[in-house]
Amino acid sequence: MAHLLQVGAGSGGMPVLDMVCRERRFSRITLIEPDVYKRHNVERHLFPAGAVGRPKAELARDWLAERRPDLEVRILACDLCDPDAQSVIDEAAASADIGVCAADNETAKYHWDALMRRHGKPWTLGEVLSGGIGGFVHWFRPGGPCYGCVASFLQRSAVPVAKPNVPDYSQPNGLGETTLPASKASIQAIASLHALVTLALLDHPDDYSPGFTSLLLTLQHVPDVFDEAFRPYRFRIPRSAECLICRTAAGPGPSSPEELDVALDQALARLGHG
């Protein structure tokens, strides 16, 4: 019986959690989710309007308890990147069999990737594209490409989704990223794929080989972006020897936290004088 560690129970994470937890293979869940359920969440979420104002983690726990009363559910109502929560998150990761990332920001995804690599755990990630025009499902295993390898590869090569990213000088003051909400149907479609990949990876953690590292499924025809709807693109992404994200962790250096601090202080002192 397996232990699932998941971050995120938003509109994309909750359906994944719901689908994978209906499988009897899991006996234990740890969910990291600090947010409160808000009015604008109702349209795309599994929870009812009457639950607005309650923590999403508690709602997720109640949801699972109704469907799987035998499931041991632990909620961590903290931000994944909160420095004060790292020891408890590390402890949960150490005992997990698989991770599911349903975080909605890049900082959290990189943080999660580092956590999973540190503990040598396989994990999956689902991403719905803005407007629900399609979405990605990625899977990771220890020793394979990290999230940095994957994000860097897709940014350069996935022509249909990521055109060459030159700085947007046309909007020097428009600094916010523009995103359009996806429909619940789009979110659910990608979440279903995410759940399937998660369950398959759990069954075959050492030899899972679906023929892709990242699967992109288009859901809409979008001129100049996607030629047609419902078309899968399968990306086989190798680990990059030049990736500074996973190379960092494997690199030489001080072994204990104290040695790390001393080495950093020495380096800063060395470079602090012009």
């Binding site: 580092a114 994000a151 700085p167 600094l175 500074l244 790390l260």
Partner: protein, 141 residues
């Protein structure tokens, strides 16, 4: 990641960022070397660049969530108001504060010295713009 308060952040500094700064500084005139200063939860690179005619003093800030979030580069030397210059003389090189596919910044291959070189290129463009009124990089239009 927490550049200065997480093990991953500290290791990134020790194994990636600091070695590339030291390589950049090697053999360079002292006035043009990068200085690295801790400022709260950020690290600041202080340096001078001379792309063509003039010398500019700059600061590149690596915020706590660097390298996921791109570095912020500010020119301390007074500049004429020009295109691609944000408030506080921050260079418009990538979307500040944004991450991932829309920012143009990629934490997997880029280091803080990449940002310094990007600033050098920006300043070279600035000097051409100053003389001709045309910003020379086509992708910036």
């Amino acid at each position: 990641m927490g550049l200065l308060d997480s093990e991953a952040g500290k290791r990134r500094l020790l194994t990636v960022e600091i070695p590339v700064i030291e390589r950049y500084n090697e053999g360079r005139e002292p006035a043009y070397k990068i200085q690295l200063v801790r400022l709260g939860s950020s690290l600041v690179l202080r340096y001078r660049l001379k792309p063509c005619h003039n010398v500019y003093q700059l600061e590149t800030r690596l915020v706590s969530s660097y390298p996921t979030v791109p570095p912020e580069i500010r020119v301390l030397t007074a500049l004429k108001h020009c295109p691609h210059l944000l408030e506080g003389q921050t260079l418009c090189l990538w979307r500040q504060g944004s991450t991932g596919m829309t920012s143009g910044w990629d934490p997997a291959p880029y280091t803080c010295v990449f940002a310094v070189r990007a600033a050098w290129r920006w300043l070279a463009c600035y000097e051409i713009w100053h003389d001709t009124g045309e910003w020379p990089l086509p992708e910036a239009k």
